[in-house]
Symmetry: C2
Subunit: 277 residues, 2 copies
């Protein structure tokens, strides 16, 4: 008899809910997106769907109808009636007996959750503290996949140090991005962040931050920073879908600027806000 | 209202089965083992439990009682009554709303399946064909984690080429291991495989293969091979828990030796068999 066991409970393997046979669980064989709404309006849906399409192609999950994904997101959002919502969804390659080599013609699984975004106004006022951690991730971080264990370990390390976010440093000693954020420095009137060729996720918040910087007449350069350069920057900040721009006030325990959100960061936050209206 | 959606079905997020909130699914935040039995006897259980303990420590999942894990494996095996069984189990950090930073005092989830190992005698007689693929994995492959997407992509590539296994080649041009196997070459009376320092899983089949080689008076060296060296070896073979030693007869479409299992590999298979009785 094919047996399964969930904690101490033995069950017939043929009676398992398909969620227990999801390749997302066995292999992290799936890709995801996180979106948000501002006051009842989903932000940058097209950008997120475009990136999701790229991620699906990157892991060769075929047969996903993007119009259907869009409809599902909109339907769930309409049902939830949460003005400032966090929308998470993933698609996995499908469910079946565990085998690295997927069966032919699997049906991808779609899963979505919507919840309210908590009040993060204090994060904008007080800023985040961050600490560095080695970038242990795989070589295709442009794919937003469910293989996030290195990100989790980085975030846990930051939490242990009393920090809000981990900043990943690769084997060349260069900062790639945060464990769940994009990372930016500001020197004078220039914003600097890693190029998308640096094994990072093409952050959508990054794209709109570039646009905001342009609107403010700031220079924007795509060049990786070392932790040393970050420490000496005038200002640092993060880009996160759910909170857009968050100032960084401490980097590896060292105060950045006056250990408070800097003037350029505050201007960028205001400029970004215009996109969300 | 917090909403979830499973394919086209909208559900109350509070009513979801905990399997949908498993960190194993969201992040691959868990570790696993695969064991097998030969004729009603589990092989190398202690080795697998020791490696599992290391994996748990590597990802800092605390509070797992290894005696309880052992009891569960034995209980499920007794229930299944499958003489030649494949036993898969994993532990994830727990279930909860998606957040990279885990909640304190999460309860780890245990999941296990037992199924019959199919007849693989033809694989031993005919051997496997293999093809190379870039090693895209993270930097801690000694942890047997649920982040297996690069392995899946490698295996899919091999299948597309009509091959049975993908052999991973790192950025230094060196073979690490197979997508779900250890990789060995044989030149004269010397067996060669990558050292465990080469970002590979400490394979238990590898350990017993070393023992078998020793019993047969063969030399064993731990040194990474290039694909070129592999192609020029007298024999190649794989180590896989569920099938122990499998001869490799083609490497990137090139016949190895006489394109049939070699004499040393066949001797190792017989010697390994003694351990399983």
């Amino acid at each position: 008899m094919n047996v399964a066991m969930i904690d101490d409970r033995i069950v017939d393997a043929n009676q398992l809910d398909s969620s227990y046979l999801d390749r997302g669980l066995y292999f992290g064989d799936g890709v995801y997106e996180v979106l948000r709404s501002y006051n009842g309006k989903i932000f940058a849906l097209d950008d997120h769907l475009a990136r999701f399409t790229d991620s699906l192609a990157g892991v060769e999950i075929d047969g996903v109808d993007m119009n259907q994904i869009r409809s599902r997101v909109l339907k769930a959002f309409d049902t939830a009636k949460i003005p400032n919502a966090k929308i998470y969804f993933h698609v996995t390659r499908g469910s079946g007996p565990r085998d690295h080599n997927p069966a032919v013609n699997m049906n991808p699984n779609f899963f979505l959750t919507i919840s309210e975004i908590g009040d993060y106004s204090k994060s904008k006022i007080n800023g985040y503290t961050v600490s560095t951690y080695p970038d242990l991730r795989w070589k295709k971080c442009w794919i937003k996949s469910l293989n996030l264990l290195p990100n989790v370990l980085a975030k846990m390390d930051a939490a242990k140090k009393g920090c809000d976010e981990a900043i990943l440093v690769d084997e060349n000693g260069l900062i790639t991005e945060g464990s769940s954020s994009a990372f930016f420095a500001c020197v004078g009137r220039t914003i600097q962040t890693a190029p998308t060729s640096a094994n990072i996720l093409p952050s959508i918040t990054r794209k709109y931050t570039m646009k905001a910087a342009h609107n403010l007449g700031l220079a924007f350069i795509e060049k990786s920073l070392t932790p040393e350069q970050a420490k000496n920057a005038d200002e640092l900040f993060l880009g996160v879908t759910t909170k857009d721009i968050i100032p960084v006030v401490k980097f590896d325990n060292l105060a950045i600027g006056s250990a408070a959100p800097g003037p350029i960061t505050r201007k960028l936050i205001s400029e970004f806000e215009k996109f969300t209206k």
